[in-house]
């Protein structure tokens, strides 16, 4: 400390360094990094859908070629891994939503459980609609 009690200038502080592998130290950090990583697979599914729509918009041969490519082992494997990450993305973000949204109905705070349940209900309704659309 300076004699006048001002800013400490002669402190020899130890500044810890953060390891590159900090996210492997705790389960919660690891899940967070996986959740961040999952957005790459969300982007992949968007690209996949665009390729699919493009093939459908061409002709029957283009559609056939897309199906052949899509059923190749590496694309299938990529989609399986992608699905796992997208599910993680969905579940983790659904769980976090009540923290991000303070919903009040008639002055009362809506319980977190209701917000999460509402999202899952929405997911089921949309999935059922898409399923109906594809299989009818």
């Amino acid at each position: 400390m300076t004699p006048s009690g001002g800013t400490p200038t002669d402190l020899r502080l130890y500044r810890p360094r953060i390891s590159t592998w900090w996210w492997t130290r705790k389960r919660s950090y690891f899940v967070f990094v996986m959740r961040e990583l999952s957005s790459i697979f969300v982007a992949w599914f968007v690209a996949y859908l665009v390729l699919f729509l493009y093939a459908v918009g061409q002709d029957a041969a283009a559609y056939r070629r897309f199906l052949d490519w899509a059923s190749s082992p590496w694309v299938t494997a990529l989609n399986v891994v992608g699905l796992a990450f997208v599910l993680l993305h969905t579940v983790t973000w659904f769980n976090l939503t009540p923290q991000a949204m303070a919903v009040r109905v008639m002055g009362q705070k809506v319980p977190a459980f209701h917000i999460v349940a509402g999202q899952y209900t929405g997911l089921v309704v949309v999935s059922a609609f898409v399923f109906w659309l594809v299989t009818r």
Binding site: P16, W22, Y29, F32, L96, Q99, A100, M101, A102
Partner: protein, 249 residues
């Protein structure tokens, strides 16, 4: 229950050490003893050179935060018996420079906190108001911000936040939660001033919603929630600024 438990304590003496090293102490293990009681036993009976901060011993002052077995904790509320058979590792709070042993330098937070203006801002100049004027609130108005007012500045949220660890410019969880506390106060009109600070790069947008700040908070303040709510506010302001004519904002 065993008679004693081993504390593995991080020591750093700036005048002689180039970095921290471990020192072990055996302390009596009693059902009602917290980690802080163990450290005070060491300080009083074993090794008077050990440095750490503490004051109230009852989770109010927020001085005794340390990393216990890698988790930021208030040591006065963390019981030794939960770590049986030991050893219990005790380190200074992560993400802060270490002054000595378990004492960290909090001046970074002290610089950041006033930037969010954590006080009631009113349109009327407080000097013109009669001193005995009360600004009444309904229980509902109190309830809107009360949770965020429980913060004791213990810095556990900063120690848990990897964003703050990697980018010390980030203004951090407690400062944003306190900004939200005053924004939600019905007596306050300072929202715009705080938003101008928090909308910057080192404000709310630094947060990637790890959520650890909320998990470690001993007062259940939920800083992660405050930050996400602020992001929503900031985004709405940007949209408004883009869409509405100047006078309507």
């Amino acid at each position: 229950m065993a008679d004693s438990i081993r504390l593995r304590v991080s020591r750093y003496r700036p005048e002689t050490d180039s970095g921290p090293h471990w020192q072990e102490y055996d302390v009596p293990l009693r059902k009602e003893w917290t980690v802080l009681d163990g450290l005070n036993h060491v300080k009083n009976e074993v090794d008077t050179t050990l440095s750490f901060r503490w004051s109230c011993r009852m989770g109010i002052c927020g001085s005794c935060g340390m990393n216990v077995d890698g988790e930021p904790r208030l040591t006065c509320g963390t019981f030794l018996s939960d770590y049986e058979p030991g050893p219990v590792t005790i380190e200074p709070l992560a993400n802060f420079p270490v002054v000595r042993d378990l004492v960290v330098d909090l001046s970074d937070f002290m610089k950041k906190l006033p930037r969010v203006k954590p006080w009631i801002i009113r349109e009327d100049d407080h000097r013109t108001v009669e001193p005995d004027v009360e600004y009444l609130q309904t229980p509902g108005q109190l309830d809107a911000y009360q949770q965020f007012s429980m913060c004791i500045n213990c810095m556990l949220c900063y120690a848990a936040c990897p964003v703050y660890g990697l980018d010390p410019e980030f203004i951090g969880p407690a400062a944003i939660a306190l900004a939200e506390r005053y924004d939600l106060d019905s007596r306050d009109v300072g929202n715009r001033e705080r938003l101008d600070v928090l909308i910057e790069h080192d404000g709310v947008w630094g947060c990637t919603f790890v959520g650890e700040c909320t998990r470690v908070c001993p007062k259940h303040v939920d800083p992660a929630s405050a930050i996400q709510r602020y992001k929503l506010k900031a985004a709405m302001e940007t949209v408004k600024a883009f869409l509405l004519p100047r006078g309507a904002r």
